[in-house]
Subunit: 475 residues, 2 copies
């Protein structure tokens, strides 16, 4: 019977229960002793530590990382120091940035160096930016000189470029080799790099000339040469290609791995689907947080002060737009003083128009991400969104007009509300299409901040239009 890896949650849950039991028992111990006793010295603690280490051994590095991320600081350190030093390297690779920083800061230099000792060049390059400079350089010294060069090269690429994500581990064969010779070559290796679905084939000049799928080696006769059965139509990437486009290409062409070549066609690295999936997930999470105005991922247990400041940049932008809006309303205080009903109706227009603008923006951001927008259809999109806004503005404007009539029995007021809704809807759609396009054109991330900007603009417009119409026609 196959020993299936049990659902990770179950394992992780067991460790959590164990930790809670510790917590309770240690607490009782403290209470009964009447003073805080050094835990290391108690027999009970030693038994618990053995039990904890046994449980932790059964967990995959990715599951250990998940567990650490979900624990409060004291339990987190307890678990971290019960993971053997040589396994901590793998776990660091799987942790999210905030928790990684936190644990690196709490680990001694020697422990960190032994954690890093087991990692290969790719992994070390990946951790490079998070490590203290002196420790990173010492770990670098332990690598072979060609690996050192690789790590430095890799670190020179920003996270948005393929070079940052490529690996140096790949199997390269020559186009004249027979499948038999290639299989003999593979047999000399204990194992192939992960996600090796194909080997890279080079020609006399050492340039990439095709790829040989593992299955092609298995299904063809052994005396055939690589060049006879290799695939020559290959999706390749350049080290400075955009990571977003690359992720799309991996999905589009259902790739497991792909060669990275320089402008001369020389192989410089390999991309694998697991790195791409990590990138896609990280980018999606970052977008979701950015849209809500959180600058970066927070450690769930980060200090209050650090977390509070992480939310300030967007709060202050939001506050600035709110001040502008407040001054716009301030300009109409005379009108509001004469017809106080305006104060209770104006938030409806601002709120609903903000929502409709955000809907438009979401559609545009999605089309931009899917690369569906180009000169030929952008006007079509503008016209369509304006038509939808006019239609929805009319429908919902009448509803709000009726609502206003029920409470204030003032027909002119209802007409002004309805017209203000329509105008604000159309302008919200105009800005809803333009904001992400302008942010994208300026080289920014269209998802980032368009919601705060858009809501600010639609609120300001909604209040201004409504109060202007009210001043002209109602008082």
């Amino acid at each position: 019977m196959v020993e299936t890896t049990p659902p990770h949650r179950e394992h992780v849950e067991q460790v959590r229960e164990l930790l809670e039991k510790f917590h309770v028992e240690n607490h009782l111990l403290d209470a009964s002793a009447g003073e805080r006793r050094g835990l290391e010295s108690t027999l009970l603690h030693r038994q618990q530590a053995v039990e904890l280490e046994r449980r932790l051994r059964g967990l995959h590095a990715a599951d250990l990382a998940d567990l650490l991320e979900s624990l409060p600081p004291d339990a987190r350190e307890l678990v971290w120091f019960h993971i053997p030093a040589q396994r901590r390297g793998e776990v660091l690779l799987e942790l999210d940035d905030a928790v990684k920083e936190n644990l690196i800061a709490h680990t001694s230099k020697d422990d960190l160096l032994s954690a890093l000792a087991g990692l290969d060049a790719d992994d070390l390059a990946y951790l490079g930016k998070d490590l203290p400079a002196d420790i990173f350089h010492q770990a670098l010294e332990a690598q072979a000189s060609e690996d050192r060069r690789w790590i430095r090269d890799s670190l020179s690429y920003p996270e948005e470029e393929v070079g940052h994500w490529m690996s140096s581990e790949m199997v390269v064969v020559h186009q004249d080799q027979t499948l038999q010779a290639i299989q003999a070559l593979l047999q000399q290796q204990a194992s192939l790099p992960t996600h090796t679905d194909k080997l890279f084939v080079t020609d006399q000049r050492g340039l990439l000339c095709g790829v040989l799928f593992l299955q092609d080696i298995l299904v063809n006769a052994p005396d055939v040469q690589a060049k006879q059965v290799m695939t020559t139509q290959v999706v390749t990437f350049a080290p400075d290609d955009d990571a977003d486009d690359t992720a799309r290409a991996f999905e589009r062409y259902d790739l497991v791995s792909a060669p990275v070549v320089n402008e001369r066609g020389k192989l410089v690295g390999r991309l694998t689907v697991d790195m791409i999936m990590d990138y896609v997930r990280e980018a999606a999470e970052k977008d979701a947080l950015n849209v809500a105005g959180v600058v970066e991922g927070e450690d769930l247990f980060a200090g209050i002060w650090a977390s509070a400041r992480n939310r300030w940049p967007w709060l202050s932008i939001n506050l600035l737009t709110a001040f502008v809006i407040s001054r716009i309303i301030g300009g109409f205080e005379g009108t509001i003083g004469q017809l106080v009903a305006l104060a209770s109706l104006m938030p409806i227009i601002a709120s609903v128009a903000g929502n409709t603008g955000n809907q438009t923006t979401a559609i545009v951001i999605r089309s931009l991400a899917l690369d569906q927008l180009h000169a030929g259809n952008i006007w079509h999109l503008f016209r369509k969104e304006l038509a939808i806004a006019a239609l929805n503005g009319a429908v919902w404007g009448v509803v709000v007009g009726l609502f206003a009539f029920v409470f204030y029995q003032n027909p002119q007021l209802s007409v002004v509300v309805t017209v203000a809704m329509m105008l604000t809807f159309v302008l919200a759609a105009l800005f809803g299409v333009s904001a992400p396009l302008v942010l994208e054109r300026m080289g920014g991330d269209p998802a980032m901040g368009s919601s705060v900007i858009l809501t600010g603009v639609t609120d300001a417009l909604g209040f201004f239009i409504f109060l202007t119409l009210a001043t002209l026609f109602l008082v």
Copy 2:
């Protein structure tokens, strides 16, 4: 030299230019003839059609799908009907739901049947729900009887379960077979199913007992039996497993493919990373649209009426909350009438508190998605978010208080603004943590709608607290 697949954008761009040229020329043709001439009959058109077909042949099915999605209706149909019928099946598989529906509706029954004829059972099951019932049944009849059963089984699983995404194509070997025998078996097959990184190994009872990586076949001696080199610690899934959890497991354990087994341990299907990536991307896009209040993906060129209605459900919820808020303010019209400055200050509190609540919600949604929240740390999170809110409320409350003082020189008003900000911030944090937790507990998607609900609640609270304090202390 390797013939690398050129960046798809370039190819797609060429077709787009061609289409625009057609458009201009056809337009000139129409104008000079003075009447709308049947395009089929002109020589020019025939040349263009040949050129278009040549260009389309060079495109990958996924690129054709992208192109179709980005074209307005007339150009889209022109391209669709110049794709050979037998390729249209592949293209349908890659299209997003909205455009797929649109093209299926515009294709004749015979054309659809020949498009579907080239698809295997998995693909047909995937398209099942989008096809008209009679055409689907006719296509089903053309399949072998075991494939028919497979398709019916597959369709019985909802999209959120593994059963919907699994494929029937897999290579299964017996544990006693030697690697040589297995290789001979593979050589009889023209090609292996895509994303075959491992074969599934079964025992005497036909139950899964391990997996054999292709590389294990290549690097081990040919006379070794499968059971000697197979991996027995396997990540397996059940057909009714949650697709989200499964996607996380694929990332966590860096899987390319994985067996799906029933409760007895019998193999029932195979999952591959390309389906998982599609699922992850679709789910992320759906979330992004839902957060903004768009129910489902829209065809960029869908009719205005259909698009407008797609945005109504959230607009109406938003409108309801806006009505409630309007009535809350309405209850304080007497106070506002006496101190009109309240009308211009109140949107600041509502807007900034809404933002801080959304930040909290984003953090909670992320932690829920990463499965980091459990009974042991939920109170920690509550306390932390409340502390951050109190801190931020105090800091920004003072800023708004100063702003109010600059414009109104009323110290009591400034104090009321500051206190109202603090209270609203703390309540926004309370709801920001609770809303996604309650939605999750109720079995809903915590991302869906929490933004609209939260903004409604914080607006209502912000206005109510501020206006109540103002009524008590200012007028």
